[in-house]
Subunit: 584 residues, 2 copies
């Protein structure tokens, strides 16, 4: 801490006045799990006292509920499409004072240099940013990413002050198969380092092997039984409620007096619209309470338990010796049954937000090498998008089937009639062409395929947010509009594009790594709204067509995906040919 | 861990046979807090599986209760009068597989060099020895100790692998008074290091200041209210049940589903007889259960909670990824209402004890510089013990009043009639002379005083175990026998002595620092029994007269104590003259 110990002690003893006395509120004690009607004395950024004290400033907290500032236990900041400084300004007024950040997306684009940037953000922003190093960059060898993180790179990350461990070990097949490079990564940050898990559906002996290897958390549980099995092995259960996956309803019944200490709330991925219109951890807490979790338990899962899980010192509780990171809530009563609003937020003992707005300055962190143009696509012609066949007739093709609210795609086999020596989109069957362009090193690799279920007519949509390698994915019913998407993406330096009838009708520039904009949350949320509106005008069937795009490229999620190298049969973890055969 | 990760994973997955399968027992799951009827698979020193597995050796555990090996959360190994290797051999058969050792007594005699020795013990013994560095050596400046630990010394201790934090910060007045040397010690091991507390009765703002300074545990609670106040501040409550202080009965009601995670069982001081005849942590668990603590809770307080409190990796639970440190218990049923016996013990996956006896070798750790003779008393004559007065008559003297079962002495004022120009012991009033000889550096300092309540006639008893500076304390009704105690102490290189009518009738040599013998627990316990018998023959009233001796010299416990420099009025934290005045 920056404040000398003697000053802390003197203020705690009431010998010198505190900076603030927050008086008259209901204060959550995470140790007794009760709200207590006491004052909190703050000095030098810390909580130094519970109860009255002489103070320079007394703040009336009557009717308010004071809880530890929220800490998101697992989040990819990139999914907010905000830089960390903009992110801090967006979530602090929501009561969030800390995040366990996993820069998986940044790292897939720019590699190890993201850590310099994030460490600087952590040092200078009024948000506690702890960093978990992603061990799976790239996620697979079935695609080209912008960068790689080797075991040596990961070991080097151990030198950053805010690195607290290894992030989600998604490559559990590699771990279970004892692939040497995978095990080297597990051990790169030292023998007893924190390792986050990511093991959807893993069970039995394999799950136990995963835990025995040192993995201590999981945020992929979707059923109570799965969570119970993992919890009984001592894993922390990160209950996820993000934009992409929502597991809280299924998992909330796990929380009771005994299990509480191993339950956390995390967002994983939270997109601009959700962050802006619904909220961050404040939203998760309210949802958990609606689902029957006791209010004190919900707040503890969003603060103290995260601190314990990651062994973060001096945060997560409102008690002497802890940082004064405080969310001040307004609610009708202790049941919180009508929800709550975040009235004000203290970070390091300083009032930083009031009534949903920042009142403290958030410094702007220079992007430096993060801002370099990362869109680097090899020259191509529209004709390169053609899928040619040698003979006329009807072909059976492998088609990616997408559905509302699911990252899992179906592996369909559908019939397409060749036209002019080509296989083209077929609007009647809702079969659209999809292409993935390598966009990091101008390698010129391109994957082509078909998708069913998107419903776009007379245009194309594209994105450089395309997990996990974040190549450029484009879907459309005609090559010309698809081609224009690519050109527009180049022009804006990466981002999301909607083209209709040969014209760009909407775009969101994401010039930072092709993932993030240097804009406020409000600006980002509203521009995404417009983008969605334009995509829906084209007939897009899904509520969030760009999310479907973003996960159509992720070859670790079943069943059929497309990378820049080709079509991937995820169940076989191998490439498959687009055309299954000629059937007539 | 020494076993390669791939081997662990393969054994966990059942691809290679485990070393042991412990089959058919009831296994405590510290996460669900339930006993579960499952097998445990051990490989390479670790638990790799819960449930069946192929194994090289299957052990039938039917009817047994398997719990994590006990970890004593706060113990001065010296009070066992055993070297750490002998200690390991003594407590492993009791189910203890780890200790948080605080070498306060050794350090007061030999200073920093004890850490080399303890670190070697930690490395080579089949007992997990974590070391907390004592911050209060010497305890006060009202006495001469053998050594000092400065803030620089403490910082240097941070380099030892097994040092986990700072031990009990007894000098809370110094902390609260912001004495620079005290604060420097608090910060010597780094900003967020673990700091054990020791703050009997501290409350309110001062207690909060103590917590704000980073102290996170306390083992001095004697009432429920005191423990509740400390727990609500987030402190871990170490419920102590030692030879000297027994707080479990008062504190057991604190334990419930919510508070459990902050409650620990610790012994603090456990002497040879108690260790041998009653037990170690096994005794504490049984006592806690008798006092109404749920069995699962008691075992968790004796293992998992200690691991969490000190952030010890990979111990304290029976789950994949944890060291295979296991106490196998036999009991009538899950209520444990008739207690239990420790049937066998596994340490690092190896069977080390069965039916109360070691079956594995415990290496003997060379004492090296620890074994040097530390008894170094300046030459003196029996006449030096005389307390002379210039005029005949009756004098009022300050007398230390001792009572059964209490470290707190009364500050009495009693009358003594001068005989032959001296104040002597007065058997009718049970007033005995007491002397404390500096014994580390032959400084020649000697404190003289009187004690009431010991009841010795026609002899003397002495000890070099005399908290916290461990000078030589001797009590008797005549100077000749007291003098012989001193001579015998020199001859045996430190220890406990009983002299009757000019003859040494019993002695226990403690040649290692004057604190510890190189003997087995059985030998030590039985020799202490003999010693006590001889002291009682002399008329000693207290059950454990040597314990009274050992604390008669501790000037941080109220009310009147004697150091080698003189009589200390603890309430004033200052020296006081022996003679209050002449009253007739």
């Amino acid at each position: 801490m920056d404040t000398p110990l003697n000053k802390i002690i003197e203020a705690a003893r009431g010998l010198t006045p505190c900076d603030y006395l927050l008086q008259g509120g209901h204060v959550l004690n995470v140790f007794t799990r009760r709200f207590e009607d006491v004052s909190l004395a703050l000095y030098g950024g810390m909580i130094v006292g519970v109860g009255e004290r002489p103070a320079n400033k007394v703040v009336n907290m009557e009717g308010c509920y004071l809880v530890p500032g929220f800490i998101d236990g697992h989040v990819h900041l990139e999914s907010s499409m905000l830089t960390p400084d903009r992110y801090a300004a967006a979530v602090l007024p929501r009561g969030t004072t800390g995040v366990m950040a996993e820069p998986h997306e940044y790292a897939n684009v720019v590699g190890i240099k993201v850590f310099d940037y994030l460490q600087r953000c952590a040092r200078e922003l009024p948000l506690n940013i702890s960093i978990c190093v992603p061990p799976c960059v790239p996620a697979t060898n079935l695609e080209h990413s912008g960068a790689e993180l080797t075991a040596q790179d990961i070991a080097a990350c151990g030198n950053y002050a805010n690195v607290v461990g290894l992030a989600e070990m998604m490559n559990y097949p590699g771990l279970l198969g004892c692939v040497p490079e995978v095990l080297a990564k597990l051990e790169a940050l030292g023998e007893n380092c924190h390792i986050d898990g990511h093991a959807p559906g893993l069970s039995g002996w394999d799950l136990q092997a995963y835990a025995a290897a040192g993995v201590s958390t999981d945020h992929e549980c979707t059923t109570l039984a799965e969570a119970e099995e993992k919890l009984a092995l001592g894993m922390y259960i990160m209950m996820r409620e993000g934009s992409v996956a929502q597991d809280l309803e299924a998992l909330a019944p796990l929380v009771n007096d005994i299990n509480l200490e191993r339950c956390l709330l995390v967002t994983d991925d939270r997109e601009p619209e959700d962050l802006y219109f619904k909220g961050h951890m404040d939203y998760l807490c309210q949802k958990a309470i609606r689902l029957g979790v006791k209010p004190a338990h919900a707040f503890i899962m969003a603060s103290w338990n995260v601190a314990k899980c990651f062994n973060l010192p001096k945060v997560g509780a409102l008690a002497p010796g802890y940082m004064a990171d405080i969310a001040v809530l307004q609610a009708d009563d202790t049941s919180f049954k009508h929800g709550f609003t975040v009235k004000s937020v203290f970070k390091n003992g300083r009032l930083v937000a009031e009534d949903g707005h920042m009142v403290a300055e958030v410094p702007s962190i220079p992007l430096e090498s993060m801002a370099h143009n990362t869109i680097n696509i090899a020259p191509f012609k529209t004709e390169d998008l053609q899928i040619k066949v040698e003979e006329p007739g009807t072909y059976e093709v492998h088609v990616i089937g997408v559905k509302e609210g699911s990252l899992i795609s179906d592996h369909l086999r559908m019939s397409l009639k060749a036209e002019e020596g080509e296989l083209k989109s077929d609007l009647e069957q809702d079969i659209l062409k999809v292409a993935v362009f390598e966009r990091h090193k101008a390698l010129g690799t391109r994957g082509l395929g078909f998708v069913h279920g998107l419903g776009i007519k007379g245009g194309a949509i594209s994105s450089t947010v395309a997990h996990d390698s974040h190549n450029l994915v484009v879907v459309g019913d005609n090559d010309r509009d698809m081609s224009l998407c690519v050109e527009e993406t180049k022009r804006i330096g990466g981002g999301l594009v909607v083209v209709s009838g040969g014209k760009v009708v909407a775009s969101v520039a994401l010039p930072i790594c092709g993932l993030v904009a240097d804009r406020t949350l409000e600006e980002s949320a509203k521009s995404i709204q417009i983008l969605h509106r334009e995509a829906h005008k084209l007939g897009a069937k899904l509520a969030r067509p760009f999310m479907s795009l973003a996960f159509m490229t992720l070859p670790v999620i079943p069943h059929l995906k497309l990378s820049d190298v080709g079509l991937v049969d995820v169940d076989k973890f191998a490439f498959t040919r687009l055309v299954a055969g000629r059937i007539g």
